[in-house]
C-alpha cells in the first residue's frame, strides 16, 4: 500500500531512504516511463517504445527493460548496470502541487540516506532528488506534448515483438507501439519542418534507432535463461 504525505523537515527529520536500485525496492519493472530529455541516454541501452496506461488508456513513452512482467534485465542485487531512468531514481518521492511528497510505506524507507541535516536543511541526497524533480516535472509536460503530436500526425503504430529463447520458451508482446516510418516519410513538408524546429524529429529518430536494442535485450534474456538452466544442471 502507499501512504503519501507532503515532505517536511519536522516530521521527516530522522527518516532514512535507501537510494540504490534493487528488485527489493520495486525496480524490477518491465517498462519504465522516461521523459524526452532522457532519450539520448536511454536509446543507447534500451528500446524506447510507447505503451498505454492501463487506467486511462493514455500513451506513455518509456524504456523496455524486459519481456516478462516484473522483469528488469539490467537490474541485479548490485543495482542497475547501465543508465538508470529518472523514474527509477526518484524512489519514494512524488510531487504534490509544487511540494515534494513521500510514500512513507515505500520499501525504500528505513536505513540508507538521511533526508535532512540536524539543522533541518535538506541533506545532499534530498537535494539530488529536488534537482531530479526540477527536470522531471517540466520534462513530463514536454513529453506529453511530444506524444500528443506524434499521435495526431498518425506517426504511431503497434509493434508486435516476438522472441524465441533457447530454452524453448517464446514471448509475444502486443501492448507496445513505435514510430510508423512509412507515415513519417509521407509527412507533408510543413509538418516535417515543424517537427524539426520543435526538436521532435531528433526524438523520433532516437526512438527508431533504439529498436536495434530489442534483439540485444532478447540475447540478454537468453543468456540469463541459459545460465539458470546450466546452474540447475550442475
Amino acid at each position: 500500500m502507499t501512504n503519501i504525505t507532503v515532505l517536511n523537515s519536522q516530521d521527516h527529520r530522522t527518516l532514512r531512504v535507501q537510494p540504490g536500485a534493487s528488485p527489493r525496492y520495486g525496480d524490477d519493472k518491465r517498462f519504465v516511463a522516461v521523459i524526452v530529455g532522457e532519450f539520448p541516454f536511454v536509446a543507447v541501452h534500451y528500446p524506447i517504445l510507447l505503451t498505454k496506461d492501463a487506467q486511462t488508456g493514455g500513451f506513455l513513452v518509456g524504456a523496455m527493460l524486459g519481456f516478462d512482467e516484473d522483469e528488469n534485465l539490467f537490474l541485479d542485487e548490485k543495482g542497475m548496470e547501465s543508465y538508470r531512468p529518472l523514474n527509477l531514481q526518484r524512489g519514494p518521492f512524488f510531487t504534490a502541487g509544487s511540494d515534494l511528497a513521500i510514500d512513507v510505506d515505500h520499501p525504500r524507507i528505513g536505513g540508507g540516506e538521511l533526508l535532512f541535516t540536524e539543522a533541518g536543511e535538506p541533506a545532499p541526497y534530498l537535494r539530488r532528488m529536488m534537482s531530479l524533480f526540477r527536470d522531471l516535472v517540466p520534462g513530463s509536460d514536454t513529453t506529453r506534448a511530444f506524444i500528443e503530436i506524434i499521435i495526431r500526425l498518425k506517426l504511431v503504430e503497434p509493434i508486435d515483438i516476438t522472441a524465441s529463447f533457447d530454452d524453448g520458451g517464446k514471448r509475444t508482446l502486443t501492448d507496445l507501439y513505435t514510430i510508423n516510418q512509412e507515415a513519417l516519410r509521407a509527412l507533408p513538408d510543413a509538418a516535417a519542418i515543424d517537427l524539426f524546429r520543435k526538436g521532435y524529429l531528433q526524438l523520433i529518430y532516437l526512438m527508431i534507432g533504439s529498436l536495434k536494442q530489442i534483439p540485444v535485450l532478447a540475447q540478454k534474456k537468453n543468456r540469463r535463461l541459459l545460465a539458470a538452466t546450466a546452474s540447475l544442471g550442475a
Binding site: 498505454k52 486511462t56 488508456g57 499521435i151 504511431v156 501492448d175 507501439y177
Partner: protein
C-alpha cells in the same frame, strides 16, 4: 449527357445527416475539387422524431469512415455500449423466460455450424452461452472493450445506445465543419418536376429555388418527395406486424452511478413489448403495442408498472407507427431513406442500419450521369426489397414461436399473418438448423443466419438432428465450443464494468490507435 454533380438531401434528422455524411465522406476528393456537392435542406420548423436509440455494429464502420471520433460520440450523444438484446418473457411469459440475441457470432461460425452439435448435446447450457461469451458479459454488466482498446475496435462485438435527439445535431456539426456539406435551413414549399417526372428543383420559403441532379428524400413519415411529389404508394405491413403504437418515456436513474445494462432489454407483455435502453444519464423505455389488442390507458398502465417506482411524475409520449414501406425506394432521380422509405417497428433496431446501408449503396454506386441512373435505381430497389423483406421475416420470427396465451400473441401465430418465405424456412428448420445455405448470403445481409439461430434456439425451437450426422465435424465443433468457454472465462476477468468504461471515456477518451 447530364452529369450527377449536385446531391440534394431534403430533411435533417438521423437519416438526412447520416446520408449526407456517408456520401460526402466517400466523395471528398470531388467535393474539395469543387466538382461535386452535397446540400442538405432542413426545415427550421419541423421537429425530428428522434426515438431511435438502438443501433447495429455497422455504425462503428460508418462513423469511422466519416472521420468521426468515437470519443466525441460518447461525450456528445450520451452514447453507451450495446452488445445485443435480451428477450424476456417472449416464449412462455414466465419470470425466468429469457434469451439473448448477442452481436458476436457463434465461435468459428464461418467454419462449422455449432447449432446441430448443441442440439445433439446435453443442452445443460443455453445455446447462446454455449457458443459465445456475450450473453454472460451482458449478465455481468461488463463493457465490450477496455480503455486501452482503440476507438471503434472491439474485444466483444458492439453497437451503441445513444440519444437520437443529440445524434443528428452532432452529425450536422461534423458534416458541415469537416466534410463540406452545405446546410440550408428552409422549408420546402413546392417540388418542381420536369416532364419525365424527374425533380428539377425544390422551391423553399427562405432560400428560394434549389436545383439538384439527385434528390434524397429524408423527410420522415411525410415522404414529401418520393411519396407526395412522385406518388409512390405506401405498402402496409400491419397484416404481418401488428404493433402500431408506442408510448415512450425517459426514466432517470436512482443514482448517477447505478449499473447500466450494455444490452437492450426487450420484455414481452400482453399486447406487445417494452424496450429498455441504458444511456449514461437516463434509461429510455417504451411500450410498443397493437392498439387493436389493448387500449392506450391499459398500455400506459403496463409501461408504468414495468418501470416501477421511478415512474412517478413522468408522462409518456405517444408515437403512432405505420408499419410498412414505399413500394419503390428509388424512382426517377429521387431516392428515399429513413422513415420516408418506411418503418416496421423498433424491435431489433433495424431503422438506423437500413439508413447506413442505403446511404452506402448510393455513395458507392453514385451514378455518373442521369443516363445510367435508372440502372443503379433498379439495383437499389432490388437490394432494398430484399432487405425489407428479410427484416419483416426476422421480426415476425420473434412472434411466431411463442406459447403466450394472450390474444395478441395467439393472433400472431395465425399462418395468414406469416410471410410464405418464413413459413418455408420454419418448416425446413425442423430438420436442419439455419446456416450459410439459407440464402442469408448477401454481402450486406442485415440479419445473418446466426441471428436466426439465437432467436430460434433461444425460444426453444426444436430441430431434429441425427447424432450420426454430426460425426464429420464433431472434433472441430468440440474445439470451438471449448474455445467459447475459455474466451468467456478470459473476458470476464479482463473487461471493466460497462458504466465504469463509459465514465473513463468521458474522462480520458479512447486512443485513435
Amino acid at each position: 449527357m447530364h452529369p450527377v454533380r449536385n446531391v440534394v438531401i431534403v430533411g435533417g434528422g438521423t437519416a438526412g445527416w447520416l446520408t449526407a455524411g456517408v456520401i460526402a465522406a466517400r466523395h471528398q476528393g470531388r467535393i474539395k475539387a469543387g466538382t461535386f456537392s452535397v446540400t442538405l435542406i432542413e426545415s427550421p420548423n419541423v421537429p425530428i422524431i428522434g426515438v431511435g436509440e438502438g443501433t447495429w455494429p455497422t455504425l462503428r464502420t460508418t462513423l469511422e469512415k466519416m472521420g468521426v471520433s468515437e470519443t466525441d460520440l460518447f461525450r456528445h450523444c450520451d452514447a453507451a455500449f450495446k452488445q445485443g438484446a435480451k428477450f424476456a418473457r417472449w416464449t412462455t411469459g414466465a419470470a425466468d423466460d429469457a434469451y439473448y440475441h448477442p452481436l458476436m457470432l457463434p465461435q468459428g461460425f464461418t467454419q462449422v455450424n455449432l447449432a446441430p452439435h448443441w442440439l445433439a448435446g446435453g443442452k445443460d447450457q443455453s445455446f447462446c452461452d454455449a457458443v459465445t461469451p456475450q450473453g454472460v458479459l451482458c449478465d455481468d454488466g461488463l463493457a465490450p472493450k477496455m480503455i486501452t482498446t482503440p476507438e471503434y475496435q472491439a474485444v466483444a462485438n458492439y453497437a451503441y445506445h445513444l440519444d437520437a435527439g443529440k445524434f443528428a445535431p452532432f452529425l450536422q456539426k461534423h458534416c458541415t465543419a469537416k466534410l463540406g456539406v452545405c446546410h440550408i435551413q428552409a422549408d420546402v414549399q413546392t417540388v418542381n418536376q420536369l416532364e419525365n417526372g424527374d425533380i428539377k428543383s425544390v422551391t423553399t420559403q427562405q432560400a428560394g429555388e434549389i436545383a439538384g441532379d439527385l434528390f434524397v428524400d429524408c423527410t420522415g413519415f411525410r415522404s414529401l418527395l418520393l411519396g407526395q411529389a412522385l406518388g409512390v404508394p405506401f405498402k402496409d405491413c400491419n397484416d404481418v406486424l401488428f404493433c402500431d403504437t408506442a408510448l415512450a418515456m425517459q426514466v432517470p436513474y436512482d443514482t448517477p452511478d447505478a449499473p447500466m445494462a450494455s444490452h437492450t432489454i426487450s420484455t414481452a407483455h400482453a399486447a406487445g413489448w417494452t424496450w429498455d435502453i441504458g444511456l449514461p444519464t437516463r434509461r429510455g423505455t417504451g411500450y410498443v403495442y397493437s392498439s387493436r389488442h389493448v387500449s392506450d390507458e391499459q398500455a400506459e398502465e403496463t409501461l408504468r408498472s414495468y418501470v416501477g417506482p421511478a415512474v412517478r411524475g413522468l408522462t409518456p409520449r405517444k408515437i403512432s407507427i405505420r408499419s410498412g414501406h414505399r413500394e419503390t425506394f428509388w424512382k426517377n432521380n429521387c431516392v428515399a431513406i429513413g422513415l420516408a422509405a418506411g418503418f416496421l417497428e423498433p424491435l431489433e433496431s433495424s431503422a438506423i442500419v437500413l439508413i447506413e446501408l442505403s446511404a452506402k449503396l448510393i455513395a458507392e454506386q453514385m451514378p455518373a450521369n442521369r443516363e445510367v441512373m435508372d440502372i443503379i435505381a433498379a439495383r437499389f430497389n432490388d437490394v432494398n426489397h430484399y432487405r425489407w423483406g428479410r427484416i419483416i421475416d426476422f421480426l415476425k420470427l420473434h412472434y411466431v414461436l411463442t406459447q403466450r396465451p394472450e390474444k395478441f400473441w395467439q393472433d400472431n401465430l395465425d399462418p395468414a399473418s406469416v410471410p410464405a418465405r418464413l413459413q418455408n424456412l420454419l418448416h425446413l428448420w425442423k430438420y436442419q438448423p439455419p446456416w450459410f445455405f439459407d440464402e442469408f448470403d448477401r454481402i450486406e445481409e442485415v440479419f445473418p443466419a446466426a441471428s436466426y439461430q439465437y432467436v430460434l434456439y433461444g425460444m426453444g425451437f426444436r430441430t431434429e438432428v441425427a447424432a450420426a450426422e454430426n460425426e464429420g465435424t464433431r472434433s472441430q465443433a468440440a474445439g470451438f465450443l471449448s474455445e467459447a468457454m475459455n474466451l468467456t472465462r478470459k473476458l470476464r476477468a479482463q473487461l471493466p464494468r460497462n458504466r465504469d468504461l463509459v465514465k473513463k471515456i468521458h474522462d480520458y477518451g479512447l486512443q485513435p490507435i
